[in-house]
Amino acid sequence: MDISIGTPKALPRGLLRSDATQRLLAFAALIVLIIVFSLASPNFLQFNNIIGILLATAVNGVLALGVTFVIITGGIDLSIGTVMTFSAVMTGVFITFWQLPIPIGLIGGIATGAFAGFINGTIIAKMKIPPFIATLGMMYVAKGLSLVISNLKPIYFNDTPGFREIVMGSALGSVFPEVEVLQIPNAVFFLFGAALIASFILGRTILGRYTFALGSNEEATRLSGVNVDRWKIAVYTLGGVFAGLGGVMMASRLNSAQPALGQGYELDAIAAVVIGGTSLSGGEGTIMGTIIGAFVMSVLVNGLRILSVPQEWQTVVTGAIVILAVYLDILRRRKS
């Protein structure tokens, strides 16, 4: 009886193979959207609009990267939206109020996110509070603190020359000033850089391995002698790092920290992750999928806007597409 795995070496590696299919299919959905919108409006595929889409994806994409880790562990993070804001506000405090140098301000902003994530993780791992509740609480706390610290006023970076250029400048473009298509804002590279790092962490490091293990069977992971609490905290902290990165990117793009913003961003990020094929029940997911999911969301929103679809209908369509995208992914899995 041929019980074992047939011709194991002939097959591509199981995990990789299923990833590849997943990417392909989510990617196909993205392509379909792009084709539909390009046909519907000549303005869709212009260079500037593409850059616009890339920029619109940048912050949500970075947030979604962090949430991907959390969701793979089987958890959820509702606080990333307001933690992002909190990080932006703290960046403002460091740079504008305390006049610290930009790099330190940026690191401080990201560290703020990491700290909030660390608290999330600690509450979840040590106090055994379900992630939904712990991060819901953090959502409120970060939101309130952002308002308190900023004294309910935006913090501007107008007196910090070069701050806006951090994500809106084009390092690549400035090397080739005459080539228009290379005038790509740094934000785009931030997004892809962050994705590469996330991909590396998830696929090649011990943290990535435990991320999957926690989501697959936490109790078994614990019984294997893994300090699951510590790794869970690490995962939420990492989620916070990405939220912090999103915060400084947001601050740089708006050249200000807007304390009242942020709530609702978590849902967009979670939707991106799930559209990208990461299962909410944990144990599986890919960074590539998340990036594609983030693009599906922003292409959709952008395309509907380009077509001047009334806002209320945009909302309806977005809802339907979120369900549809996930349904396609589920159909694909059922087949395979």
Binding site: M1, S4, K9, G14, L15, R209, F212, T221, L223, S224
Partner: protein, 513 residues
Amino acid sequence: MSDVLVTMEGVEKTFPGVHALSQCRFELRKGEVHALVGENGAGKSTLMKVLAGVYLKDSGRILYKGKEADIHNPRAAQHLGISMIHQELNLMPHLTIAQNIFIGREPRQAVKFMLDDKAINDNTQQLLDMLHLKLDPRTKVADLTVAKQQMVEIAKALSFNAEVLIMDEPTAALTEAEIDELFRTIRRLREQGVGTVYITHRLEELFLISDRVTVMRDGQYVGTVNTADTNRDEIIRMMVGRTIYEAAPDIPENGKQDIVLEVKNLNRGRVLQNINFHLKRGEILGFAGLMGAGRTEVARAIFGADPIDTGEIYVQGKKAHIKSPNDAVEHGIGYLSEDRKRYGLTLGMDVETNVVLAAFRKFLGILGVVNYSRTRLTAEEFVKTLSIKTPSLKQKVKNLSGGNQQKLVIAKWLIADTDILIFDEPTRGIDVGAKSEIYKLLNDLAHQGKAIIMISSELPEILRMSHRIIVMCEGRITGELSSAEATQEKIMKYATERGGIVQTNGAPASAAV
């Protein structure tokens, strides 16, 4: 220095409502296989979980190599060299075999936080080769059958090079060839001085593998005997405090009965091919085969749990369209799954709800109101009939021992009162006493006119219980035997037309583990 590895003394452990261990003791020596037996719920798993750091003892002492040891978590146990294969599978289904085996101690690359997957896979391959397992380290565990997952657990436990190896019913999901391989491995370890604790309900295994036997009853230590100085009956007496009369059940002739279930040309992918058979009233039809033969798949297909590609099912002569378990129950078919925790029980709910779960519709008043006094009476009655050990009907099922959980599943289907019952491994993980009760029950049910399919990997059980035996291999039915003509040899011949998971040319492994 003596050769005593572990001494447990005066160990106490209580769970809410249950005094699981009281003044328990246990001793393990170097290079011995020490069997631990007892009825379901006797506390075997709990005692060993205390040793492996999964549960904290309430009081008592654990000496490891003569020194008092503080085992407060699984990692601490691992550091001491204690490794445990749990009764329930403890694997990460989304990870590969190799990743599962090396979880928590992954080889790293030069940069410390980076994984060395090649090393993981190579090491695992060696390990699997040593156990003669034809598995690819890169396969996801979710894609393996229960048996193969069990072998992965065993490989994992061995990979620790532990000095104390605890195996909690490792053979419950395994077939003969795999068990042989496992025993070879255990003997090899014994030569290397490893102390093995071996928990099992298959008493015949004691005499094949163990050096000493410790018996537990109701959370208490009963006694320890040298295997060579004892016999099966004595152990059973120690376990249950009485002698069990193991008469072979009578098998009434039932050739003239009507056919209640007929399956024609059932196909489902490569898993089920051209399944044809029928089942008569009052008959116990045994399904034999090696693991992965497709018996569970047949049951699930008939029960509507999995969709089928083609095929027809006739119940009482009429064609039945079974698209879901709900349809199946309406047609009078019940199915007891082989994996009770995952598929048989709502573990977080109480005993009462679980036993009436498949038959709620019988206890309804107007507006879908449940008649609780009737559900309670019924539950009480069945808990008594099957002597299910539970402090109350409101006990959460997850706190019952494995064997009692299994009885609960049986009670559930008895209450549902379906005419056709499919028992998938009904005695897996069940103690001798309970086993003979279940045999008697099956027999009684057949006498009452129920039609029963019994899937089992234990050949003696199949031979003893069945009127007729169907043997499967690779998703096909390869033979049918009447009870008169059936022997172990004939069944194995049909069941093993090709090699199993263990290579048949398994050279005695000489490599050290």
